[in-house]
């Protein structure tokens, strides 16, 4: 099936981070020479994010290097980047794509790439409006100083400043990947750390028993006071305007002068209300990342049907933002030729660095999949497990076994058949 070609004179990308800038570079690499605009909410250039909970926080990577790790992708290309341009609303009708800013200014486009990613979650009621917040453009800050999330370079530097000041104790709420990395980085800097996780084991929601036990042991062995099966009750004020303690759902109280909330991220979708697009835990796309006439989505914000797994998914991984940024740009250019493009099928891949452990995960396992040890021994911190569901391999988790992880991933890209991936 093919459709009428879209006349692509101007393409607007929303979000100047990994997916958005990769899409921008792809348009140029494909030889498209129209008017290319990237609008970005942040007033300063975003940075590459993985170092924010690792090297930037540890002080081993300069902030400027974290920014150039991202911006090098569009170095020397003709791209009009407009910072401090948060899109407030959109209207996407066929042949009439509009983006609206908070000052009521509008721009139109022939094609749009949605790459607004995701934002860190805060507990309900913890954010208060700032002094310069207006009805038109609301702005928020945390109610107490010393309480952090990590999503942006500024977030990471603010936490680093608090950790550098020699705190008595850091409490990390949530033992997901980012929380666990912050705990590991803080331990390496000699900070006392308590990590609190509501589930009975870290990562239990996604990865199940053996892996969760491994991660729990890794942190305990490195001196983290790990509290499992309890949640955050309240963040308590100490010195005026500053956190002094947290209370937990089991009634206990932990004195803390720094708190990091690792409660996960939520896709940035508010601005799409009433736009005409379908939004449901992400921008709902077809298997080619097509969201609606002239509109594609990529990265953390995109929900699409991954034909390899036969499943709708949304993936919050670094490499996925690159792969989808490329694929979404090509999909839009295909529409310019009247073609319906090709499905974007992939094996999601993720890494995390904690202490001396390089963790890698490929695929899309579920917590109730069967876990099979395929290499090494968790006690040696060098092992790999595969996840099995019926005749399928749904994923692989490896600690300090990159070769095993990548070979499994290459096989999964060919077929998810268990006997093919784990011969």
């Amino acid at each position: 099936m093919s459709s009428d070609p879209i006349d692509l004179d101007r393409i607007v990308i929303v979000g100047a981070s990994l997916a958005g800038l990769t899409a921008a570079a792809t348009f140029r690499a494909q030889g498209w020479d129209g008017d290319l605009v990237v609008v970005e909410a942040s007033a300063t250039m975003p940075s590459d994010r993985p170092p924010l909970s690792k090297q930037v926080l540890a002080g081993t990577l300069e902030p400027a290097a974290a920014i150039s790790a991202l911006t090098d992708r569009i170095d020397g290309l003709d791209v009009d980047i407009r910072l401090d341009h948060r899109v407030a609303g959109a209207g996407f009708a066929a042949d009439d794509l509009r983006l609206k800013f908070f000052n009521d200014h509008e721009i139109t486009a022939d094609g749009v790439v949605i790459a607004t990613g995701s934002a860190a979650r805060w507990p309900a009621g913890f954010l208060v409006e700032t002094e310069d917040s207006t009805a038109n453009e609301p702005k928020y800050r945390p109610r107490l100083a010393g309480v952090h999330v990590i999503r942006t370079l500024d977030d990471s530097l603010a936490l680093k400043a608090d950790l550098d000041s020699g705190p008595n104790r850091l409490v990390v709420i949530g033992a997901g990947f980012i929380g666990a990395e912050v705990a590991a980085t803080a331990r390496a800097a000699g900070v006392d750390v308590t990590m609190v996780e509501y589930a009975p084991l870290p990562l239990a929601r996604v990865l199940g028993g053996m892996v969760g036990e491994f991660v729990a042991d890794l942190h305990r062995d490195n001196g983290v006071d790990l509290r499992l099966g309890v949640g955050l009750d309240e963040i308590v004020e100490g010195a005026p305007g500053r956190v002094g303690a947290v209370t937990l759902t089991d009634g206990s109280r932990i004195d803390a002068d720094v708190v990091v909330l690792g409660l996960g991220a939520a896709p940035e979708l508010d601005w799409l209300g009433g736009s005409g697009l379908v939004v449901d835990n992400g921008v709902v796309c077809d298997e080619t990342l097509w969201a609606g006439p002239g509109v594609v989505a990529a990265g953390d914000v995109a929900s699409w049907v991954n034909t390899l797994f036969g499943e709708r998914m949304r993936v919050e991984h670094w490499e996925n933002a690159i792969e989808q940024g490329e694929a979404a740009a090509k999909r839009l250019l295909a529409a310019g030729e009247g073609s319906d493009g090709e499905p974007f099928a992939s094996v999601p891949w993720f890494w995390s660095d904690q202490y001396d452990c390089k963790i890698q995960m490929a695929g899309r396992p579920a917590a109730d999949d069967e876990i099979v040890l395929i290499d090494g021994d968790p006690a040696d911190r060098r092992f790999a497990v595969a996840f099995r569901r019926g005749d399928r391999c749904t994923g692989v988790f490896a600690a300090n076994r990159p070769r095993i992880a990548v070979v499994a991933r290459m096989r999964m890209a060919e077929s998810l058949d268990w006997s093919h991936v784990v011969p």
Binding site: P50, A69, R73, W349, K358, P402, R403
Partner: protein, 64 residues
């Protein structure tokens, strides 16, 4: 085209091997080996893809 890896920043996560196994190999000892330092033009797009997807920006291409 000459492929150069900065081994000081490479962390052997093998992403490049997944893209261009003809050029990059992470072996059982967890080190990255370049199988072909001067790959032919037919591998250019794969090597460029590896440059873009290396999380440490450790790979570069030098033209000869």
């Amino acid at each position: 085209m000459k492929v150069v890896v900065d081994y000081d920043v490479c962390e052997s996560n093998a992403i490049c091997m997944g893209i261009a196994p003809e050029v990059f190999e992470v072996r059982d000892d967890d080190f990255l080996y370049l199988l072909d330092e001067n790959p032919g033009e037919e591998l250019r797009s794969k090597v460029e893809e590896a440059v873009r997807r290396c999380p440490k920006q450790a790979i570069s291409i030098e033209e000869d």
